[in-house]
Symmetry: C2
Subunit: 273 residues, 2 copies
């Protein structure tokens, strides 16, 4: 999938929501634990309950690898279950030398059929290049939502810019807004404004709404561009909306609420016209 299709899906659904599929056996509804593969059953219910209101799904690899080989089987089944027209992100935050990065790219693109992979920028272009295939996309960490992030990412460089902005100059040599997105956390809206100025056309993947407390209105104010340019991820607030038998309904109603908020914002910024 490419960004033109992603933008078009957002306009159709009036939603720039990405749902994080991060199944934790300690938190999924107890009545699902009787299944052979409770992780896949959990994901299937979430996908069925949310697919009309979101445009992307983002499994975080940490949750699947923790379960050993059978976790990867659950992930394979989940990827096959997500309909073709969704944007599928492997939240893997990998970074390695070219040879190993190419192997990760084969794994995520060929084996699992993901459209995009999150990547740390610290190792430079070699670690990113293998992910820039046709109609695929590297999503590079710039300003992440965690509390310790800015102690590294905002280090002041000799040009006077903080590191996260200086990196945009370097990353613009590696690829373009057609095959690179940036991770910009919802808790980093000051940085988001600066990044939007320097990268007016790139899509941002924005984690940190919901359980992590980010403000959707401020994210839109500082991050939206004429092609939308935002994919906001919500994980825990949706997938753990309830742990009882009303789980499916609660997941669905929480997702609808978020979609409605997004629609209102898209209308307010006159982006749907």
């Amino acid at each position: 999938m490419n960004f033109i299709k992603l933008e078009s899906a957002i306009r159709d659904k009036k939603s720039f929501l990405c749902i994080g599929l991060d199944p934790d056996l300690k938190r999924i509804p107890e009545h699902l634990l009787k299944y052979d593969d409770p992780v896949f059953e959990f994901n299937k219910i979430i996908i069925d309950a949310t697919m009309d209101y979101c445009v992307a799904y983002k499994p975080n690899l940490a949750f699947y690898e923790k379960l050993g080989p059978k976790g990867l089987v659950s992930l394979e089944k989940t990827l096959k279950y997500i309909p073709e027209h969704f944007f599928k992100i492997a939240d893997a935050k990998r970074s390695d030398i070219f040879n190993s990065a190419s192997m990760y790219a084969d794994t995520f693109y060929d084996h699992f059929d993901f459209d995009a992979v999150t990547i740390s920028p610290y190792m430079g272009v070699d670690a990113v290049k293998p992910f820039l295939r046709k109609n695929k996309c590297a999503i590079i960490l710039l300003a992440t939502s965690n509390s310790g992030a800015s102690a590294v990412q905002n280090i002041s460089t000799s040009s006077g810019q903080p590191l996260y902005l200086e990196l945009i100059t370097e990353i613009s040599k590696w690829g373009s807004e057609n095959n690179i997105m940036f991770v910009v956390g919802a808790s980093r809206t000051d940085e988001m404004l600066e990044i939007r100025r320097k990268a007016p056309n790139h899509f941002f993947l924005v984690p940190g709404i919901g359980a992590q407390g980010g403000d959707m209105k401020l994210v839109c104010k500082n991050g939206l561009n004429k092609n939308i340019g935002l994919l906001v991820n919500v994980s825990r607030a949706i997938i753990y909306a309830s742990s009882g038998h009303d789980f499916e309904k609660k997941v669905s109603s929480t997702t609808v609420e978020i979609q409605k908020e997004m629609q209102l914002l898209l209308e307010e910024y006159k982006i749907l016209q």
Copy 2:
């Protein structure tokens, strides 16, 4: 395993060699492909042929994940096969928010029984903290061996120091030389000298010798400290020493050669006395 035991193993074996277990089905000897689990058979032969001449093994996760769920089974079997007294490194180069990083730590430490994991520093302390358990160790990327690395890692900061040195100041708040190592590539010996000045007591994991062309003498000149402080990794030059039926012998003789070179250097620097 802790660093005191690692140093003692190095003194006993007169070797600071770590072997990268990076099995590529396209490159392993053809006669091994008939086995149910050729990756494990390959690793087993390498471990048997090299265990007297090295102190650590380092599987790179990219090579196992590429094989899907069965790759993780091969990795599980490999970790069980490596004797207890070896230092076992998961070359995973992960980095994630605290919640997800904790899951990766559970996976690598509890499920696989690794002693250490390689980590990218870009997300800050949250991404590293879960890996700093008792007798376990985070190995943080500082100056990596790949060609594109310095365009990011040597960005000049406002203190006048390059980023990789500035990061040492920040990382010293996260842990100490008792639970943190640094990745410093064999192609980055100028940087290694600077890093050794600023981090006199930390162990360095040094990739880039062998197939990547690094110079062992210069690595020792710029990196050794009184507690040795170096763990030099060789992967391809050892594990693909031959693809024929003499594979086991060639792997062993190549490893012995490298161990002898290391012993001479340890004697030259009067570290074995």
